[in-house]
């Protein structure tokens, strides 16, 4: 009989230590270093921000203005997401109809879409004659670039981009939450005489408050940190994330890190109470006040009316929004590439055509090929390293007593604005910190590891907690498997789907990441950063082509996600 010798206990300890050290150094340290850097360089911060001999505290005023703008934008984005995301999530969770999985794909698309390319597509759609304006027979874009949304006072086009990029977080989180709530509660409510809308208000909504909160946190953080698409559509307005990019490129590192730290800390102050509340594991929120009967009856009448007469509306409006924000930009940019292929359709100049810009004197095609190579190497290497940290980390999180705190610390890289992230990695590894490596491909890889780890860990944990891993592992152990054998032969195969999904999500995010990459890339440019450069160099046709290329690449990856996660 062949008995494998039992592995010594120390090797298991070693794995735990290596994982934890890798996690702390690669994932956590940059953010903490960013904040500590502000204190280390406080004199410079004071000089630049508060007591500049020439402009005084003008920079501080600017910062406050930009921060206020960013938070206004993120809040209004989340509110809008919720209003239209809740009905859409409900449809996805509770209704069956042909094309449902296609709709789910379309909703997911912005998650894997390279932000700069998508931002450019949205810009084309709304503000140029090649987009909706031309379709509707106007001689200009449908919306001027400087159109503002009243009340919240944010530019329309920036708002649209942020809604599109954050919508999937709300819809997916909520759809998952709704699915996890037994439909019997709703049916019970209906049998007791409540119409569908009242049922939603009194049953499903209170039960899904945790999901609504966590979806909102994700969307809020995403909006706050969004850089790639915003930089393209923002025009003269500046969000906090863009300000960080600007200051970094002006080498005002202390100012940029002060801004980055402020953003991280304020984001935490807003998100922490929500996280704490969610951590308590309460099933719902109890409304502490009593609503007078006359009002409740009026609400009931209204809900009865809406349920009976307007139920179609709640299905159609969210679908319309998804179509306009996701599908139309893709079509618009495809259309533009075709229009601009050989020459600028309006001036007739050959230099204004895609073909000329790619293969003509500017040689953008060669740069694009090189950038593609860089992007793919970065995505592969960073995702692979992240995977090596994530797999043991998931088991640590699920089994060790210090797992839950690690899991909540993992939220930091998820909510840190991407430009702050880039800055923090730059500070830590380049001259100001360890001084180990310079800007370039390796620094991009280090940056991408930071967000790849939480992405992979989250999707693995979902798979882990979705199946009864410890029960299966226990039964493997009773059949004679060692702890390692059990993990290798039972647990890992069971969460394979989660690993693959996490890998692809991290991979596509790495491929599309713009904000952080832009700061750390040095001369090794990636494709999304190339789009930003092209737009800034006003090489619009080349940007059109590159954006389309990126979008098609990410749609291809989404198809792979669908195939691998569909299950048997």
């Amino acid at each position: 009989m062949l008995l494998k010798p039992k592995k010594p206990v120390s090797s298991s300890k070693l794995v735990v230590w290596i994982t934890l050290i890798g996690f702390i150094v690669l994932v956590l340290l940059p953010t903490f270093y960013l904040i500590s850097y502000v204190f280390l360089e406080w004199d410079e911060v004071r000089f630049e921000v508060f007591e500049n001999p020439i402009i005084g505290d003008e920079n501080w005023k600017q910062m406050l203005k930009v921060l206020f703008f960013s938070f206004r934008l993120s809040f209004s984005t989340v509110i809008f997401d919720l209003i239209f995301g809740i009905p859409l999530a409900y449809i996805l969770a509770r209704k069956n109809f042909p094309g449902k999985s296609l709709l789910e794909d379309i909703v997911t698309l912005p998650l894997v879409m390279p932000t700069s390319g998508f931002g450019f597509a949205t810009l084309i759609t709304w503000t140029t004659v090649a987009g909706l304006g031309g379709v509707l027979g106007l001689n200009s874009g449908l919306i001027p670039l400087d159109a503002f949304i009243p009340l919240v006072n944010v530019p329309f086009i920036v708002f649209i981009v942020h809604v599109t990029l954050t919508f999937p977080y709300i819809v997916r989180t909520l759809a998952t939450k709704f699915r996890s709530i037994d439909i019997t509660y709703e049916v019970a409510s209906r049998t007791l005489g409540a119409n569908p809308l009242t049922t939603f208000r009194k049953i499903l909504f209170p039960l899904s408050i945790p999901g609504i909160f966590s979806g909102s946190v994700l969307a809020f953080a995403r909006s706050l940190g969004e850089t790639g698409a915003t930089i393209i559509v923002a025009g003269v307005s500046s969000t906090a994330s863009i300000a960080i990019v600007r200051w970094t490129s002006e080498f005002k590192l202390a100012t940029a890190s002060f801004m980055g730290s402020l953003l991280v800390i304020i984001a935490w102050i807003i998100i922490l109470p929500v996280e704490l509340y969610l951590g308590q594991g309460k099933r719902s929120l109890n409304v502490p006040f009593v609503v007078p009967i006359s009002l409740t009856n009026r609400i009931l009448k209204f809900e009865n009316y809406v349920s009976k007469k307007l139920s179609r509306l709640k299905d159609l409006v969210p679908l319309f929004i998804v179509a306009v924000t996701v599908i139309v930009p893709i079509l618009a940019i495809l259309n533009s590439v075709i229009l601009y292929w050989s020459a600028d359709p309006y001036t007739g100049k050959i230099e204004g055509g895609v073909w000329n810009q790619l293969f003509g004197p500017s040689q953008y095609f060669n740069i694009l090929l090189r950038a593609t190579l860089t992007s793919i190497i970065v995505a592969l290497v960073s995702t692979f390293i992240a995977l090596c940290i994530s797999i043991p980390l998931v088991f640590i999180i699920e089994r060790k007593w210090y797992g839950p705190p690690i899991r909540s610390i993992l939220k930091i890289p998820l909510i840190i604005p991407t430009s702050s992230l880039g800055l923090s990695v730059l500070l830590l590894w380049v001259s100001q910190g360890f001084n180990l490596i310079g800007s370039g491909i390796w620094l991009i890889i280090l940056t991408h590891i930071v967000f790849a780890v939480p992405v992979i860990v989250e999707s693995m944990i979902a798979a882990y907690e979705g199946s009864d891993i410890s029960m299966y592992e226990d039964s493997a152990r009773t059949l004679g498997a060692t702890a390692y054998n059990a993990i290798e032969t039972v647990s890992l195969p069971l969460i394979k789907g989660g690993i693959i999904t996490g890998f692809i999500l991290a991979f596509t995010r790495s491929l599309g990441e713009t904000g952080a990459t832009f700061i750390v890339m040095g001369r090794d440019i990636t494709v999304p950063a190339l789009v930003v450069n092209m737009v800034e160099a006003l090489a619009i046709p080349a940007a059109l082509f590159t954006s389309t290329y990126l979008i098609i690449l990410s749609m291809f990856l989404l198809v792979i996600i669908r195939i691998t996660t569909r299950g048997p």
Binding site: D182, T184, Y185, V187, A188, S189, R190, T191, L192, G193, A194, N195, P196, T198, T199, K202, I203, P206, L207, R283, S284, N286, I293, T296, N297, L300, K301
Partner: protein, 369 residues
């Protein structure tokens, strides 16, 4: 006190016909149970009535009104779920007053009824408790009270006791029946527990593969099942194949081969007809070995003895190689049999049911699939 009428109800799920052309009438104030193997469509049936699902075709009438196009909330039904489904974020009071609240009734109007219901289920002192703080039995009683405070007169019970312990289940089922009868409700109760169905229902519906096989009183279904499937599904029975050998004035003689012959009361068969005879394990009398009466006597060797509380089960291999089960109630008169002993049993003709041999074969006809 509504009546319910289903006319040609059909409901398909992909390739499965869950309800196949079902016709059914339930009278005012009747307590009716639906039993059948899993997947027979019994839950689909009451979900159709509740409006939780819509039938593909056919009409549903509640109290004489066609309700096919009425949403769930307008049908005036009370539905009790197997998984209880008390709202976890509301306490008992809020759960029980939910119906009146969402219907916009004034508190003055609804509070007496709510209090009466809570008194009835003896939970008036625990209205502040949350569902998770109550036992399963209490939770299910609350769920019933909740269904009734919205003034439901038609109670649809979907395996209401399925999630409870055996003892609680046995007690609650009688309380359920008493409640329904005291309040003059109509109840349709789906269960996989045939003992539950038999002990509380006015009538029992036996379903199989989306169709109603038989409807009858519990007594009729047990003693005179019209259908061979019912005979097998309700209670336990022995099935023996044979052919009609003679037709007599007072019945027929069935030949079971190897010299075994039984007289049955049925006469409407021809000689040489292939039949199945059925009798319950408890409807036999042990004959002494030296008893000379050979009339309707089955003999064989005991091959297994099992005790289950007050019942002893003997598995007996007959001389024609068929196996039957014979049970006696344990009493001070223990027949003192052991495995291998010879056993003779007298089966009275009036307790033998005779069915024509099913075309598709006996095991297919009795299959629970």
């Amino acid at each position: 006190m509504p009546n319910v009428e289903l006319i040609k109800i059909t409901k398909r799920y992909d390739n499965v016909v869950a309800n196949d052309n079902i016709n059914l009438a339930i009278k005012d104030g009747e307590y009716v149970s639906v039993i059948g193997p899993s997947g027979c469509g019994k839950t689909t049936l009451i979900k159709n009535i509740a409006g939780i699902i819509k039938p593909d075709s056919g009409d549903i009438f509640i109290d004489g009104k066609r309700v096919n196009d009425q949403p769930i909330e307008d049908r005036g039904i009370g539905y009790v779920f197997q998984n209880i489904a008390l709202f976890p974020h509301m306490n008992i009071w809020d759960n029980v007053t939910y119906g009146p609240k969402v219907k916009g009734w004034s508190q003055k109007e609804s509070t007496p009824l709510v209090k009466e219901m809570l008194d009835m289920i003896q939970l008036s002192t625990r209205v502040e408790a949350y569902p998770s703080e109550l036992s399963g039995g209490m939770q299910q009683k609350t769920a019933v009270a909740r269904a009734l405070t919205s003034r439901a007169e038609l109670l649809l019970l979907d395996e209401p006791l399925g999630a409870l312990d055996v003892k609680v289940r046995a007690k609650l089922r009688y309380e359920l029946r008493r409640l329904v009868k005291d309040l003059h409700l109509t109840a349709l109760h789906v269960t996989h527990d045939q003992e539950e169905a038999m002990s509380i229902s006015d009538r029992v519906i036996v379903m199989r593969k989306g169709k109603i096989v038989e409807i009858g009183t519990p007594f009729d279904l047990y003693i005179h099942p019209k259908n061979i499937f019912t005979a097998n599904f309700v209670g336990e029975a022995n099935f023996l194949e044979g052919t009609i050998a003679h037709i007599l004035e007072e019945g027929s003689i069935v030949d079971l081969k190897n010299g075994l012959r039984l007289r049955v009361t049925i006469k409407n068969h021809k000689i040489d007809d292939h039949v199945v005879i059925v009798f319950r394990p408890e409807f036999g009398v042990i004959r002494d070995k030296d008893d000379n009466k050979t009339f309707n006597r089955l003999s064989g060797n005991v091959i297994e003895i099992l005790y289950s509380g007050n019942i002893v089960r003997y598995k007996v291999k007959l001389v024609n190689n068929a196996t039957i089960v014979f049970t006696i109630s344990l009493s001070i008169q223990d027949p003192k049999l052991s495995v291998g002993d010879n056993l003779s049993i007298y089966v009275p003709p009036e307790h033998i049911l005779t069915y024509p041999y099913p075309k598709g074969g006996l095991s297919k006809e009795l299959s629970l699939e």
